[in-house]
Amino acid sequence: MRVNRRTTATVATAAVLGLTLAACGGGGTSGDGGGEGGGNEVEVFTWWAAGSEKAGLDALVGVFDEQHPDIEFVNGAVAGGAGSAAKDLLQTRLQAQDPPDTFQAHAGAELQDYIDAAQIEDVSDLYDEFGLADAFPADLVDRLSSEDGAIYSIPSNIHRANVVWANPTVLEENDIDPEAQYEDLDAWIADLEKLDEAGVTPISVGTTWTQVHLLETVLLADLGPEAYSGLWDGSTDWEGAEVTAALEDFETIMGLTNDDRDGLDWPEATQMVIDGSAAFNVMGDWAVAAFEEQDKVLGTDFTAAPVPGTDGTFDFLADSFTLPVGAPNPDGSKAWLETVGSLEGQVAFNKAKGSIPARTDADPAEFSEYQQTAIESFANDTIVSSLAHGAAAPVATLTAISDATSKFTTGAADLAGYQSELAAAAQG
């Protein structure tokens, strides 16, 4: 009996010790897991895990291997939820002070949270070292700079948000000229209403973020680039009559969209235009990949134009790479950032992804027909920052605007309530 009891005690002690050790060991190894990037590896954290984005990343890695053969690229891509799964994981890793060597983030105000949290480094001196300040348009460099004038990331590519895609066949069937150049939103809305009467879905839209995307282009069209930019620095009054008029237009246009919008993401909404079940769709220029994958030809099967009233303005968003504080291999991070900013890197990446280089010295002839028009606009147009894609406002503001927009488009808030909620959201 005594032996038995003693054995029990020993076993129990061993079990406690074992579990305690296991718990400590677990913590230790997970800490090392991301930290092994030292030496000659660089872990690049992105949400480019599939499709044209994956192709772009592969092309960029090809250039990186050529420029820095001594450093090994480690792919830290996380798939799922259009980047939300990656952002969640990144948030956890940064909080645990286990950052990757560099991570993808939308350029602009979305970085503000990381800056405030002292999680990313100022890379202004890398701009001088790599000669990027002259290679990027001055307008863009202004928009990338934070309030204190420092720059915290290097853009790899530029997308345009204010593009309207149309199906010319549907338009012709309903006696609307597919070539028409709309002066302003009113002219466009008139045609949308004509389509509505004919029983066609005039304009397709998807879930909340695509509605915010539409809202931003409507605001841009009605307010003009200067007043639109003023919304984000406080110089334009959210409660003003001009914003009210723009929101009225937004309400009208939302009334002409498909009913099942809240269940769709952008590919499904754009697909409605490809299939001819909707006439127009407002989406960023990554949508061109959806058309091209299905062998649709620009000009005959689909058309692309700036959203009516925003001609001459380039509503930009950019993916960019950062230098996290405490990166295990900062030299590797800098090497990656050098490739990202280099002409070869930007050309290779953007040819595969379908976006355009942030650099102005790339040869447009190397790119596709749509990309060439985008490169030309980017060089000549006024550049403004996109709201829905993190360039114009920090995450908390965007979340509050999204919540207010969802409330409004489902009918739970009226226009006045919506406007005051937007004003409150912009104030933070």
């Binding site: 009891r5 029990t8 005690a9 129990a12 002690t13 079990a15 406690v16 579990l19 305690t20 718990a23 939300s84 952002k87 969640d88 948030q91 940064l94 909080q95 949270d113 990381y114 405030d116 949290a117 002292a118 999680q119 029983g199 879905t201 879930t207 909340t208 973020w209 498909n258 009913d259 099942d260 809240d262 269940g263 079940s277 995450v395 908390a396 965007l398 979340t399 999204s402 919540d403 969802s406 409330k407 489902t410 009918g411 739970a412």
Partner: protein, 300 residues
Amino acid sequence: MLKKLRRVGPPLLLLAPSLILVGVFVYGLIAANFSTSFTDSHTAAQATRQKPTAFVWFTNYLDLLASEDFQHSLMNLLLYTVVFLVGTMVMGFLWAWMLEKPVKGEGLFRSVYLFPMAVSFVASGVVWRWLLNSNQDEQASGLNRLFQIVGLDVLQNNWWNNITFGIVAIAIPAIWQLSGYVMALFLAGFRGIPDELREAARMDGASEWKLYRHVLFPQLSPVALSALIIIGHMSLKAFDLIMSISKPANYQTKVPAVDMFVFKSSFDYANAAAVGSILLIIVALVIVPYLIRTNREEKR
């Protein structure tokens, strides 16, 4: 003293690992959650201690409970829970009642009813998102299309896109998945009632209704209570099904768990923690009386 240690020591040592783990990872983290919810940590900078945080005690809770949006989430949760509970209990009981009498192919029916439970909420959510498509008339698909085909056009509706009752549409797949489970519970309850009791009641001249009312139902009530508690707490924690049918930003289908996710994603840890605590308290209100009751019964 030594004797006492010898007696208590080994069992305590054996329990220690789980006590420590549960203490740290359940109760410790609950305490951490409450302490976060009492601060004003609403930004990323505060989460990394770049900016100071202050204790604001119940301010977050009061602000949340006063906000119309959070009240809407709570209302949605209540609606969802009521419909989900009533739906699964009624369907589960009906199926169990039908299968309780020896029928041919009982095993087959039992499996068919129980099978949806084997599907994950995320997988069934993807299918139900299509079935519950809110397009009507020409563009209709899913259930709305089915209604058209069978000539019940009036039944078409916008399902989960209704602002007030949208959440009820999401309870439909939840009922579909969990009714079989409730059926299994009730079936076990029915089988646990000895035949002698029924025979005795019949001998005493009880009608079929009286037999159920006075003999069978009282015997089933512990099963019904367990089913209520299990389904009830699942319903309060509803998140995955809602996320895969709707989207986190959609106002019409917001519940507290979704709010918690949205707050967390925008670095508002204090409010996320406060929502988590409110959910914990609501679930505790359901679970704790049940635990006390079972404890008392076991002691008897």
